[in-house]
């Protein structure tokens, strides 16, 4: 597609539920990143994929968070047993190769009630 697409744009879920957030990167981009942005703060790194593999998952806050990119294109961020503190905008970005300019999606606003 023309840009990075994230779905849904908004997600409201109840505490304790499971959610999946989807990212469709720019075609041909091998690097994919997930970030989380809380109100009034900058994006916080979660995980980086190079192709199908997670090259750096050091930003995932705990084992309730998991992400996959099985075919090296679309990625899904999965959050189990959601907590109110997980509420934030989750951003996805992709780049042609590692270290090059990253293009960001519009984000998914997750609200846990």
């Amino acid at each position: 597609g023309a840009g990075v697409s994230q779905t849904p744009s908004n997600k409201v879920t109840e505490k304790g539920k499971y959610v999946e957030l989807r990212c469709d990167p720019i075609s041909g981009h091998t690097a994919l990143y997930w970030y989380r942005q809380s109100l009034g703060q900058g994006p916080e790194f979660l995980i980086y994929f190079q192709g199908t593999g997670a090259a750096d998952d050091s930003g995932l806050p705990n084992d309730r968070f998991f992400a996959v990119r099985p075919e090296g294109s679309v990625s899904t961020l999965k959050i189990q047993r959601t907590e109110r503190g997980d509420s934030a905008v989750y951003l996805c970005a992709s780049s042609l190769k590692r270290g090059s300019e990253a293009f960001f999606g519009q984000g998914t606003r997750l609200t846990v009630v």
């Binding site: 690097a31 990143y33 970030y35 009034g40 703060q41 900058g42 994006p43 916080e44 790194f45 980086y48 190079q50 090259a55 750096d56 050091s58 930003g59 951003l91 970005a93 590692r98 270290g99 300019e101 990253a102 293009f103 960001f104 999606g105 519009q106 984000g107």
Partner: protein, 114 residues
């Protein structure tokens, strides 16, 4: 560990006045440096970047930033701002090793007043 500090959370300025948004970083290895802009209700967009070469980099809409290695700074400047420059500006650092993850500062809200 790498970190990015944006020294001002908000910068109010009158239209046509100059502005400087400050950014300092810490890293023990070489880095790439970026400024991203987020306009109201829009996604993050790259404003300008320093990868190597000339330490002064410019954007197409009049912003410039200078990489100062000795002071570990990458301040963003514009000689004359417009109302349309009102946005959140994020400084970011990509470590030039391993996973190439990008670390962002907390952001500076530039508010241009008429």
């Amino acid at each position: 560990a790498q970190s990015v500090t944006q020294l001002d959370s908000q910068v109010p300025v009158f239209e046509e006045a100059p502005v400087e948004l400050r950014c300092n970083y810490s890293s023990s290895v070489s880095v790439y440096l970026f400024w991203y802009v987020q306009y109201p209700n829009q996604g993050l967009q790259l404003l300008l970047k320093y990868l190597s070469g000339s330490t002064l980099v410019e954007s197409i809409n009049g912003f410039e930033a200078e990489f100062n290695k000795s002071q570990t700074s990458f301040h963003l400047r514009k000689p004359s701002v417009h109302i349309s420059d009102t946005a959140e500006y994020f400084c970011a650092v990509t470590v030039n090793t391993g996973g190439f993850k990008t670390i962002f500062g907390a952001g500076t809200r530039l508010f241009v007043k008429a």
